[in-house]
């Protein structure tokens, strides 16, 4: 008797405690949501070079499907010379943009017109919601998209109830009729076909309890299910269930909830799934591994059909509709972009940039939405073409053994936005990110900095200043002797400053650099955006300074952009999980270098492509000329570099071995080839330098050049310092 009193009391106290605890847990539960990282949205406007095929490709990458009826978001319809589609609602930094029905007309490889189908009026510009390119996962590796009550399709709820808990709206957490029915069915079919647990019990099990199967745990589960039902509405329980349920595995990541499952199996939002697809995700509730539609499509299809049959049985679906749905194949997508390692180098950079402002916990748990600068169109083609070209280079260098490596950065010159980043020949996440971390001597890529330093003193230097391209021997501070040579081992005598850079003469450059002084040269490097302590060795003048491809890109961004520097940027904005603006990474510009001297250097860099060391672009990039750039090669051909730009885009490529063995490639035969392979289909435009107001143009003039001077092209100079004093002809 006493014992039973104690037992009742203890149980009572326990239940009271459990009741309080369960409320605290359920209400305080904040699901950890991974950060979602987005590419830059594709902007569509009249005049944009775009074909119908490319747009269909872009829409498909976003999970849009062809649909003649075009009845909701995420659908498109191809017509003869146009595409009609309905965008998805999406929240950007500037606010929510509603779904729009649009028609895009194509005309000679461009967008001709964009029409809003609801108002029949033209649209100036529209963006496609950005592609999800990655996620930053919580420690426990759960992937989840939170659905609100009204985001759960009715069909899904009915399918779920038909399969898992037919008495959901009648019971109070436990369904004794259901248990009996399950028992009966299981005995009849001699296997476990139905479970007796209600959705509430399943939720409790997933939510609060460990995985062990004991009698006590079962009792606890039943008690908690009853308590949960006492405090919360059916809708609250159902929504929690839809967000909690385990529905698949992707490597170490667990896919939780129907929203994530839709994204994982179909690459689109849950609201856009058809009935057969909703039936499939419900089929997975009973065993996401066993019924994995990618690994076991037959089992998955059988289970899906069973879901549809059950719905007919419950009167939720007509037999005809079920038949139609059952005839469809599963159509699960191969692998969504964010699960695959498509953008490992770029995501690595994004993570590093984010860690300047956020803790790892914020990134893993808070469901942040991160908007990046990645241009998926440019990156995809660059990646494909780079891999192909690198394989070709690997074959050419086969004799030296080892695996040839590469790195590449493509940016929008005018804003510093990083559009594509390649960190190496294989794209495994976690592999060495050479674009960010490989510091290598930059060779002749430094030369524009030296010439810029000279031309910034226009009273002393112009493009026609004679330089001595002659041998020299330097005794260094440490006692050793430095004897630089030209690449072709020939000295060219007296040459114009302009020709010395165009043809990348080492001796003339060293003479010039020593005249200027290493301090001045280093000063220009710092101004151009190199944030690093540099040693004052004369060999710096031939590029012994070791920089990463990113640093080189920043340096050339400053030059290509007329002296206006924008820090290289990978993130544009961050929103919180409720789409509230958190932080914007706005465009920053600094006038780092004087436009006049930069213009003179850029003029020569155009000549480098026109007839200097990068002249092979005359054939490989014939449609996009003029372009500007500089090749770089280091001792014994260990590093092959090219930095090149058009009007809109700038790219730096590097080719070499991780162990620093010689490559057999110069800048021109290695990195330049890679560059042109990557940039041919990038949308690069010919350079159009706008002449600063202090620039004049000089043609060959009798007073200036006596005797049989070679024909000189038109050359720019800084107006107050017209080259008139140094007469004489020099053959470059």
């Amino acid at each position: 008797m006493q014992l039973s009193i104690i037992l009742v009391c203890t149980t009572g106290v326990y239940l009271l405690w459990l009741d309080a605890w369960i409320q605290k847990e359920f209400e305080g539960k904040r699901w950890s949501l991974p950060a979602r990282v987005y590419a830059s949205p594709i902007e569509l406007y009249a005049g944009l070079p775009m074909t119908k095929t490319l747009l269909v490709e872009n829409l498909s990458a976003l999970g849009y499907v062809a649909d003649e009826r075009l009845h909701h978001s995420g659908r498109f319809r191809e017509q003869q010379n146009s595409i009609a589609f309905i965008t998805r609602p999406f929240t950007y930094w500037t606010g929510k943009e509603a779904a729009r029905s649009l028609r895009i007309d194509f005309q000679e490889g461009q967008i001709g017109e964009i029409i809003d189908l609801d108002t029949a009026s033209p649209v100036g510009v529209v963006r496609l919601e950005p592609e999800l390119i990655g996620k930053i996962y919580p420690q426990h590796n759960e992937d989840r998209i939170l659905l609100q009550d009204d985001e759960i399709p009715e069909f899904l709820v009915k399918a779920l109830l038909a399969m898992e808990d037919r008495g959901f709206y009648r019971h109070h957490g436990l369904d004794f009729r259901g248990i009996l029915r399950a028992l009966y069915t299981n005995i009849r079919k001699a296997k476990v076909a139905q479970g007796g647990s209600t959705l509430t019990q399943q939720l409790v099990k997933n939510y609060f309890l460990s995985r062990e199967r004991t009698f006590w745990r079962k009792l606890n589960e039943m008690a908690m299910a009853l308590l949960l039902e006492r405090h919360y509405s059916k809708q609250e329980i159902l929504t929690a269930y839809c967000n909690e349920i385990y529905l698949g595995q992707h490597g170490a990541r667990a896919i939780h909830g129907f929203g994530t499952a839709a994204e994982f199996y179909y690459g689109r939002p849950l609201a856009e799934l058809n009935n057969d697809q909703l039936a499939l995700v419900v089929a997975l509730v009973r065993g996401a591994t066993y019924y994995d539609p990618r690994k076991h499509p037959d089992r998955a299809q059988q289970r899906r059909d069973l879901v549809l049959d059950n719905m007919v049985e419950q009167g939720y679906l007509s037999r005809q509709d079920a038949d139609v749905a059952q005839r469809l194949s599963l159509n699960v997508i191969a692998k969504p972009a964010w699960t695959s390692a498509k953008y490992p180098a770029f995501l690595d950079l994004v993570r590093r940039h984010l860690l300047r402002d956020y803790t790892m916990t914020d990134l893993q748990d808070a469901g942040l939405k991160i908007f990046t600068t990645l241009d998926t169109t440019i990156h995809r083609q660059a990646q494909v073409n780079a891999s192909r070209k690198l394989a070709e280079l690997q074959r050419k260098t086969a004799r030296s053994g080892g695996k040839i490596q590469m790195a590449a950065v493509i940016i929008r010159t005018g804003t510093g936005d990083i559009l594509s980043l390649i960190g190496g020949s294989n794209a495994d996440p976690g592999s060495f990110n050479r674009a960010l971390d490989a510091r290598r001597p930059i060779g002749s890529l430094i030369k524009p900095i030296i010439y810029l330093t000279a031309l910034s003193a226009p009273q002393q230097y112009s493009l026609l200043t004679p330089l001595e391209d002659t041998n020299l021997t330097l005794k260094l501070e440490n006692g050793s002797v430095w004897k630089p040579e030209n690449y072709d081992k020939v000295s060219h005598g007296t040459v114009y400053l302009y020709d010395a850079l165009k043809h990348s003469y080492n001796l003339a450059t060293v003479h010039l650099g020593l005249q200027l002084g290493l301090d001045k040269v280093i000063g220009t490097l710092l101004k151009a955006g190199i944030d690093r302590k540099l040693e004052k060795f004369p060999s710096l003048l031939l590029g012994s300074v070791e920089l990463t491809p990113m640093e080189v890109t920043q340096m050339y961004q400053t030059i290509a952009n007329g002296g206006f520097q924008s820090p290289l940027n990978s993130i544009s904005a961050v929103l919180d999980s409720d789409n509230k603006p958190l932080q914007r990474y706005g465009l920053q510009v600094k006038q780092a270098l004087e436009p006049g001297p930069v213009f003179l250097v850029n003029h020569i860099l155009t000549e480098v492509v026109a007839g200097g060391t990068a002249r092979s672009l005359q054939t490989t990039m014939a449609e996009y000329l003029p372009l500007a750039g500089k090749t770089g090669t280091t001792n014994d051909l260990r590093d092959s570099w090219f930095a090149g730009f058009g009007d809109n885009l700038l790219a730096v490529t590097w080719v070499g071995y991780d162990d620093n063995r010689p490559t057999r490639f110069t800048g021109a035969t290695g990195a330049l080839q890679l560059w042109s392979a990557m940039m041919r289909d990038s949308g690069i435009q010919p350079v159009k330098f706008i002449t600063p107001e202090d620039i004049g143009w000089l043609s060959r003039h009798p007073r200036l050049f006596s005797g049989n001077c070679p024909e000189l092209p038109l050359l720019p100079y800084i107006t107050n310092y017209k080259p008139s004093d140094h007469a004489g002809c020099y053959s470059g």
Binding site: T94, G124, L587
Partner: protein, 197 residues
């Protein structure tokens, strides 16, 4: 724009009365540019013309004499191109956003336009204006200068940029910058730009 220039400060420094004149000039220049900031095109009804002509300078400014008349093959800078409809639409959105008290959205929208057309001098000018009104003088100044390097031949836009630079340098006490801006404005005025407002 008035808010950026501390008029009260100017008035207390009685020797700076001429600055008030400049403020007036600046305001005049800004208000005169309004017809351009608000595109005349109605995007909701009539089909957009392929090219918006509102980018033409308001005043018919004769081009300056070529600096090198003996050299007909001197490379010519591209004439200021007409603003494409996409940019006009975004300029419009940005202006709307700022009018609604959301300068951050205005800046984001102008930056969105700059991704489409990074060398558009008008966009840099407008972004400089947003930064100035938000109190970021440094960015405003640099962007106005950037706009000027891209505005070759567009004297009225250059004039707007120099007024903006003048306002900022006056405000930050940068005497040298202020003098340069005044000189440029005078030069441009003599060429007939931007005075008809």
């Amino acid at each position: 724009m008035l808010a950026v220039i501390p008029v009260e400060t100017l008035m207390t420094q009685n020797n700076h009365l001429w600055k008030l004149l400049l403020v007036c000039l600046l305001l005049q220049a800004c208000s005169s540019s309004n017809p351009r900031t608000t595109p005349v095109e109605d995007r909701t009804t009539a089909p957009a013309p392929p090219v918006i002509s509102s980018r033409q300078p308001r005043v018919n400014v004769p081009p300056p004499a070529p600096s090198n008349p003996v050299n007909p093959q001197v490379p010519l800078d591209p004439a200021p191109a007409a603003t494409p409809p996409a940019i006009v639409a975004l300029l419009d959105d940005a202006e709307q956003a700022e009018a609604n008290g959301n300068p951050d959205a205005a800046a984001a929208t102008l930056e969105r336009a700059l991704k489409i057309d990074p060398k558009n001098a008008l966009l840099w000018n407008r972004l400089a204006g947003v930064h100035m009104r938000r109190g970021d003088s440094q960015q405003a100044l640099t962007m106005a200068r950037r706009s000027n390097t891209l505005a070759a031949g567009d004297y009225s836009l250059q004039m707007e940029n120099w007024f903006l630079i003048l306002a900022i340098t006056t405000n930050t006490g940068d005497a040298q910058g202020e003098a340069e801006a005044r000189k440029k404005i005078e030069e441009l005025r003599q060429m007939g730009a931007g005075t008809s407002g």
